[in-house]
Symmetry: C2
Subunit: 239 residues, 2 copies
């Protein structure tokens, strides 16, 4: 009934076209349209912060993070926290979300300055998707937002198996980069200390003998991976 009333109201609105597009995207009829209009307004169109989607993006990013966290927590009941964290960062990373947003057709709905060529290379559609999640939350509450993310975003657009299989062996990644660029790469144990009842190892990544980064962990393998991951970031090596 509520859905019906909302539809009737929107039928007479000048935003009929937008409502139809949103219904298709969201799987329900929006109640409070201004939330969604705000979510679709990029700063390049309106600088005024009350009228663009940056605040909603902040909210939606957090809501998305918690729903993905719960999804992974339940999907992988035997995986450690580090695995869940890594998988979440792969799902919510800018590149993934921007790609999802494009496939959802958000680029046709987002209002932005189309003369600004830099924008098409940035992640404005993924950011708008986060803002849209913020709008869904404000308009419909947590439970509906959860349903929207699981059914309309993750299920059709996120290839979990592919994300699982991406190479997480940071040491190998760093090694192949070093070989390609003719650096001598070594991992040196810099420290072994007792913290409470446990040993903690610190491993350093050395490139041509220079210390690039260090990583700590309860065993050498873990510490080496941490150090390699930090080094990849510092050196801006792409996966």
């Amino acid at each position: 009934m509520r859905r019906f009333t909302a539809r009737i109201l929107h039928f007479f609105s000048p935003n009929k076209q937008l409502v139809l597009q949103l219904e298709h995207l969201l799987g329900y009829t929006p109640k409070h349209l201004p939330y969604y209009q705000l979510a679709l307004m990029h700063r390049s169109k309106i600088e005024e912060l009350a009228q663009n989607n940056e605040r909603l993006e902040f909210l939606g990013d957090a809501i998305l993070g918690s729903i993905v966290a719960e999804y992974l927590f339940k999907k992988y009941p035997t995986q450690p926290e580090g695995y869940l964290t890594e998988m979440r960062s792969r799902i919510v990373r800018r590149e993934t979300l921007n790609n999802v947003a494009l496939r959802m057709g958000l680029n046709k709905l987002v209002q932005y300055n189309q003369n600004d060529r830099g924008l098409s290379r940035s992640h404005i559609f993924g950011n708008a998707l986060e803002a849209l999640i913020g709008a869904v939350y404000l308009d419909q509450g947590f439970s509906r937002t959860r349903k929207f993310i699981l059914k309309q975003v993750i299920k059709p657009y996120i290839d979990i198996a592919m994300l699982e299989s991406t190479d997480t062996n940071y040491k190998n990644q760093l090694l192949s980069w070093a070989q390609k660029n003719s650096f001598v790469l070594t991992f040196d144990t810099l420290e072994e200390k007792i913290e409470g009842s446990r040993k903690v190892f610190t491993i350093g990544v050395m490139l041509d003998g220079d210390l690039i980064e260090t990583g700590a962990g309860y065993n050498k393998k873990e510490a080496g991976q941490v150090a390699a991951q930090k080094a990849l970031e510092k050196l801006k090596v792409k996966n």
Copy 2:
């Protein structure tokens, strides 16, 4: 009625003491006690990941982040996204949460290896608070978790006004650190370029003439703050 039934059941349980303590802490009677027992079990007591609180901490951290995001979004309707992000990081940072957890008395409930002296200096109680939030979410759902965080955690224990007034002027922080340590600090404009229709500035932080970090922004002030913040992190200067 459900609360009454839960109480009756717990009255005959060997965990009566724990239930009473949790009721006091949470403001309601837990339904499924094992979630809470798991949340209170530190890895130093049980390594097995299905039996310690690290996975729940991952979940609770995300739920807390989203509830704090919504709280700030509504509390500061006119502040930009950057302000909300900064305020959230102050609320959920390890030191703040650990302090809150101690004042809530979680140190009396968490099971950990008390012979491990390193632990008392770490943030295990703040982490257990996050895990407890994960347990509340699994046991009671989002709405109750939201209420718990707002009424039992933020309202009594988080001094928002104090967190607001903490110095966010990273340039000033860096300057006073440099003076104390007799470094010559300068901020140099390294680049001004047009991205789309907007100018983007890149500012470098120089310490005794060496480039430490760079920051980019739509004006020099913003770019300088970004650069200073990154330099403070790199140099591990404490606020």
